[in-house]
């Protein structure tokens, strides 16, 4: 039995929490690159001309429905579009330091994807080739992946009644397996998309920045963002800007204009939940002890108070009995035995009646 299967079985048995975090702890120690030989794509926005050939190719190779406006209509790039279930990649025009810059949006194929971390039915998988794939056959349709994705990528087929699925760029995984390039990369007329091993692409990106001082913002978006992504972006620097320093803080305003968020941190998004998930076994372990202890204390307190009450009652009863005895003896001395017997009977009856009354009212209170 392998480890995954073991976990699966435990998971379904509901004892998962402790082991779940064990796995999480292991996930927290991933070093980058996640898969050393995985592929990626470098998107050089200084080259992109916004021709939408990539969109057209994506639509074609993935057999997506034809859009309303043809791909030759380039005016749509001016509106802010996002990827949807039927458009896995879109090219948008951004105003960057007063100049139009085009950027292609698609799944970034994170090294440690937030969607995969968020999916509770294990639909998403980071493949060794770098792609993040989705298996719709076990998708429950909860859309937590869409909440989790920091890049607003996955789209959902809201119009589909019976088999609605989450859809996103697949990195053309089937084509990669056939040894072909992703559709968009192949279609790009200016090689704004460079396909290669992720580790090489980072070198290429750094080289381009170094060889063309003043041309690029000195930041390879996706190298570390959100724990690193397979698809990375180079952005053009503002014209006449001083040679950029190495500070990401300086790059942030430029990249923001390009719709790129540099505030995602350099750890996988999923790790943000690991602390909370790590607390699960502690609660499972401590809560029963805590509340069981509280219960035991309550019980013990009740038992002690009951004992004390009985003791007090017993003493009172003994006191009363002694008093009655004394009174009866006194009557016996003064009035004779007959009177004493009557007095004893009367007193005992009066006590019994009182006790019964007390018992009755006490019973009522208990309810």
């Amino acid at each position: 039995m392998n480890r995954r299967k073991f976990l699966t079985i435990l998971g379904s048995a509901g004892v998962v929490s402790a082991l779940g975090t064990a796995k999480v702890a292991e996930a927290g120690m991933h070093t980058f690159p996640y898969y050393a030989d995985s592929y990626g794509v470098l998107h050089d926005t200084t080259r992109c001309i916004g021709c939408r050939r990539c969109e057209e190719a994506c639509n074609k190779v993935n057999n997506l429905p034809k859009p309303e406006k043809p791909f030759t209509d380039l005016s749509v790039t001016a509106t802010r579009r996002r990827t949807t279930a039927y458009e896995w990649t879109v090219v948008n025009k951004y105003e960057m330091n007063g100049k139009p810059v085009f950027r292609k949006l698609q799944c970034f194929h994170c090294n440690d994807p937030a969607c995969a971390s968020a999916c509770f039915a294990k639909c998403f998988q980071k493949q060794p080739d770098g792609s993040v794939t989705y298996d719709g056959s076990q998708c429950v349709g909860c859309r937590y992946c869409m909440v989790a994705c920091p890049f607003y990528v996955p789209g959902f087929q809201y119009d589909e009644a019976f088999d609605p699925l989450v859809q996103k760029c697949t990195f053309c995984e089937p084509r990669l397996k056939e040894g072909k390039l992703p559709g968009c990369v192949e279609a790009c007329p200016v090689d704004a998309l460079t396909f290669g091993r992720r580790s090489d692409l980072i070198k290429v990106a750094r080289a381009r920045i170094a060889d063309n001082p003043g041309k690029y913002v000195n930041y390879v978006y996706g190298e570390f963002d959100a724990g690193g992504t397979a698809w990375m972006v180079l952005a053009p620097a503002a014209e006449g800007a001083p040679v950029p320093a190495d500070s990401p803080a300086q790059a942030a305003p430029d990249l923001k204009q390009l719709g790129l968020n540099t505030h995602l941190g350099n750890r996988p998004m999923g790790e943000l939940t690991y602390g909370a998930l790590g607390a699960v076994p502690m609660i499972v372990a401590f809560w029963p002890v805590l509340f069981g202890g509280a219960y035991a204390m309550t019980k013990r307190r009740e038992a002690i108070s009951k004992l004390e009450q009985e003791k007090v009652l017993k003493e009172a009863r003994e006191d009363v009995a002694a008093a009655v005895d004394a009174a009866v003896r006194k009557i016996e001395e003064t009035e004779g035995e007959g009177a004493a017997e009557r007095a004893r009977r009367a007193m005992t009856e009066a006590l019994k009646a009182r006790e019964a009354e007390a018992a009755c009212s006490k019973h009522g209170e208990d309810k």
Partner: protein, 327 residues
Amino acid sequence: MRNGTTLLLLAAMALAGAACLTAWGAGPVVAASLEPTDSGAPSAMVIFPVGEKPNPKGVGMKPVVFNHLIHEKKIEDCVTCHHTGDPVSCTTCHTVEGKAEGNFVTLERAMHATDIARRDKGNTPQSCVSCHEQQLRQRQCAGCHALVKPARNAAWCAVCHTGAPSMSSQQMQQGMAGKLPQAQNEALAAEVALAKKPVEYLTGLQAPYKVVIDALAEQYEPSVFTHRRHVSSLMERISDDKLAQAFHTRPETLCSTCHHNSPLSATPPKCGNCHTTNIDPKNPTRPTLKAAYHLQCMGCHKAMKVGRPLNTDCTTCHKQRAPQRAD
């Protein structure tokens, strides 16, 4: 020159010139023939790598012959170079080791630095290289120089670091100590400056008239590239540019923007020899043939602010091919 009058005039001028040369040209003072500057500064001077450390063997970088005349004509204000406002020679403050007067900025940096921080107040200094790089952003240069960054190799250094052929090693030592007499310095410089001859470039007439780019024709008809027109237009724009003349040191230099990465030649190899139609697994970052064409054409057009054609208007360059039958 179809005008006969012009031809006649030219002939007359040539005759006059020859006459002048024979009359006074053999005079003993060669330096005198450099045009004097407006500011009164020497027309050319040798800039030695002046240093304070003892240097008995006289080892140092080849001195630069600086043509003050040409630069002065190009620049509006002396303070562009003489950034302190005091027109002294550069090596007064900037020496090989740097000294306090020059804020310990070495001569090397003062001449070559490109990462000069902008001064909040006052004049931001320029180095030779930073100013030359700025010139490359002019429209007529930007087309090629957006694509081509001149290699910083020995040839590039040698453009300025010429030295002077007739300079003795004693003069060199004196120069490096900053003790060479002014007159000798100017004489050496003038000799070099006058000897400088512009290069004979290959012209558009030696290049093909039109090139049909058909290697990739699929969705579109082949593109007809007006090769000669492009070359001539580029050459015309920089014909008077002294900076270009100085640095374009080979007849084929201009060709090497597009015909890059191969040895300079009048018959360069085809683009497709290196740029494959599909991605080359051995060189995945090398642009494919289609991208190579587009990046070159669009890159140059964009940098030179050529309005037409639009990047995305494909049919300006290659006509849409009529739908073809599968067979």
